[in-house]
Amino acid sequence: MSSTQMLKGIIDGCVLAIIKNKEVYGYELAEKLEAYGFESFSEGTIYPMLMRMQREELVSATFKKSTAGPRRKYYSLTQKGEKELQHFITRWEQLQQSVNQVLQNGVNSS
């Protein structure tokens, strides 16, 4: 499995976590993801993702004036989004634990 494929499932949760901290606009979100080390993805993929999240009512969007030019679309987390983030955290912790155990056993037995 390529790192891009692995990333797809995880990035959703990370996007929710970033939005939960502070409402963000698209470019800001891409920059934050990059700063956290997600560099291999195309920045534009966040938009179809945000569209889906909006349809699933995980995030909501509002337009705000910006000093840089036209209005920016800011995303914030909904209650449903917060619940989804909690589910993701639980799933991630379980997965992380399982992977760590497998890897540790692999290292110990080799």
Partner: protein, 249 residues
């Protein structure tokens, strides 16, 4: 109109994305939203020295598809537009025919016209999708699509040709029916002109109908009348488009 600070490549991508989503029947408002958002993103990315590939990936076509899949189709909106195109194009025939007398059309002609309008719409949308997805330049697109778009013209000529040779029931509108159809057509043309805020429909209609009608009162030979009216029609349309283009520029 995209931001002039944007690179040519990004500008072309946004234009193509707009056309692709439009041809896929997406809602205008949503198309505007996503293209605006991407324009802002590309602008900021370019200021920070990022290439467009960092944003849309190596395949703009795949990216366009990804966005399109997340958007809803505007079924009722598009049904209205398609209906307007079919009915609207028939109104042009109505005005030119009514000057020759009461309206009467064969069932073959009406069905043929509706089918040809649908063929025209399908070809326009398929061509738009094809060109936008492959980011083909305007000149190349015109060269490639001219033969494709000639198909409805050929079908139109074929309908006219076979209409005289195929036995199909005629629908006579009578005096009242004729004026009713003309009145409805006029309302439609005026309505569409006001809605689209452009005089193109009325100008093209007048250029198509009036020269032939006015020349029929002259003592010129029929062939000469047709030739002159064709020249006025196409010359007039070309002049009008040139004037509009110059004004917009």
């Amino acid at each position: 109109m995209t931001n002039p600070q944007l690179s040519k490549k990004s500008h072309k991508f946004l234009e193509d994305l707009h056309a692709y989503l439009f041809a896929n029947g997406k809602k205008f408002e949503e198309i505007k939203d996503i293209t605006n958002e991407l324009e802002m993103h590309l602008l900021e990315a370019e200021k920070n020295g990022k290439p467009i590939e960092k944003i849309v990936g190596n395949s703009p076509a795949e990216y366009m598809e990804m966005i399109s899949e997340e958007m809803d189709m505007d079924v009722s909106g598009w049904f209205k537009y398609i209906l307007l195109i079919i009915v609207g194009s028939f109104t042009f025939r109505v005005f030119s025919d009514v000057l020759k007398g009461e309206l009467a059309y064969s069932v073959f002609e009406i069905v043929g016209h509706v089918a040809n309008s649908i063929l025209f719409i399908v070809l326009v949308f398929a061509s738009m999708k094809f060109v936008a997805k492959r980011q083909i330049s305007d000149t190349k697109a015109i060269i490639m699509l001219t033969p494709v778009m000639s198909i409805p013209v050929a079908v139109f000529v074929a309908i006219l040709y076979f209409n005289d040779r195929i036995d199909s029931p005629m629908i006579h509108f009578g005096e009242t029916g004729t004026w009713l159809v003309v009145a409805l057509s006029a309302i439609l043309i005026i309505g569409m002109t006001l809605w689209a805020k452009t005089s193109i429909l009325i100008v093209v209609l007048l250029l198509l109908v009036l020269p032939e009608y006015l020349l029929s009162f002259t003592s010129l030979q029929l062939e000469m009348q047709l030739l002159i009216s064709l020249l006025i029609t196409y010359g007039g349309i070309a002049l009008y488009l040139w004037l509009v283009f110059r004004k917009e520029k």
